[in-house]
Amino acid sequence: MSILMELFFTFVKIGLFTFGGGYAMISMIENNCVEKKAWITHDEMMDVTVIAESTPGPIAINCATFTGYKKAGFLGALAATLGVVVPSFIVIFLISMFLDNFLEITIVANAFKGIKVGVGLLILDAAITMINKMQKKKLSRLIMICSCVTMLCINAFAWNFSSISLMIIAAIISLLVFVLRGTQEQKGGAKK
């Protein structure tokens, strides 16, 4: 089997058997691509985890692209990325054709009303986990609290302000603080 096919089908398998998104996938990739196939080294896997955390987009895509590229260049990256996307694409596409009819059944509709509550709690729980892992720095905390309050207002009062603008502002503030601290230190001013 050519390496491209092998990459594609390995990532189809990874895409098919990981539930719950990105982080679950990292251990599957580690198991398949590092231990079984030795396509990438353990250190490279650590690198890609860092890249995945610092770049936008689905973690699964980041990992697949990286592994595919290391093993077989651009086409490898393409094969692995397509592989990881195809299973969920098919599953969700099938669901999307039936979901509306399915929701008309009373007991299913009731179940989904419960699920709606569950999803809210799930997101809240994810946020709490993220806060616990966050750097315990004053600026980080301040940015976190300010964006949380602003976002709550955006939601509650339907302010016309996007979360992307909020992220850009936070990035600029953090960059400015970094640059200002740098110039202060050069003058021998603030000790930080």
Binding site: I59, A111, V119, L124, A126
Partner: protein, 187 residues
């Protein structure tokens, strides 16, 4: 045209979705509600479906919304759009810009982005839980059923964590909340 809208909308999501699936949910919510593709209720249902089916949550949501708005081609376009930015960025980083993430200025930007994303996710979680229970500010409507389910689920989550010393898996939580919904709204 819907195809172009889908492409641009999900390209935006792909470019700014820092912090994994939950970091992306507020962003997708933003884009989806702005374009008016599906309503909040349906989006919440789809988050649960995406969490309980294999694959990346972001990709799943893109596929669903694309399919819902413009059939098979819509699904393909939305999925490609959400995947393209991270595909290109990883290629760029592994080939040309191997040290870009170690750059001090890039680090400073990330130090601002990450807590901001966490704040946004926290706000989205709080808003969803509160609005489920008491409705929106413009339309206050206490829901005894939702409050009951919220209380039961929180107790289960905390109880499980104390006894099993680990977190309840998201899929189990969704199953439990479905059962709670059937019971509470059924009687």
């Amino acid at each position: 045209m819907i195809y172009i809208e889908l492409f641009l909308g999900f390209l935006k999501v792909g470019c700014f979705a820092f912090g994994g699936a939950y970091g992306a949910i507020p962003l997708i919510r933003d884009v989806v509600l702005t374009y008016g593709w599906i309503d909040e209720e349906m989006l919440t249902y789809m988050i649960a479906v995406s969490e309980s089916t294999p694959g990346s949550i972001m990709v799943n949501l893109a596929t669903y919304i694309g399919s819902n708005q413009a059939g098979f081609l819509g699904a393909v376009i939305a999925t490609l759009a959400v995947a393209t930015p991270s595909f290109l960025i990883v290629l760029l980083i592994t080939t040309l810009l191997q040290n870009v993430l170690k750059n001090r200025y890039a680090q400073a930007i990330l130090r601002g982005l990450k807590p901001c994303v966490i704040g946004i996710v926290l706000a989205t979680g709080i808003y969803m839980v509160v609005s489920n229970c008491v409705g929106a500010i413009s339309d206050v409507k206490l829901s005894v059923q939702a409050i009951t389910i919220t209380a039961v689920l929180i107790l289960l989550m905390i109880g499980y964590k104390h006894i099993a010393k680990k977190k309840l898996s998201p899929i189990i939580l969704i199953v439990l909340s479905a059962v709670a919904g059937m019971v509470v709204y059924g009687v």
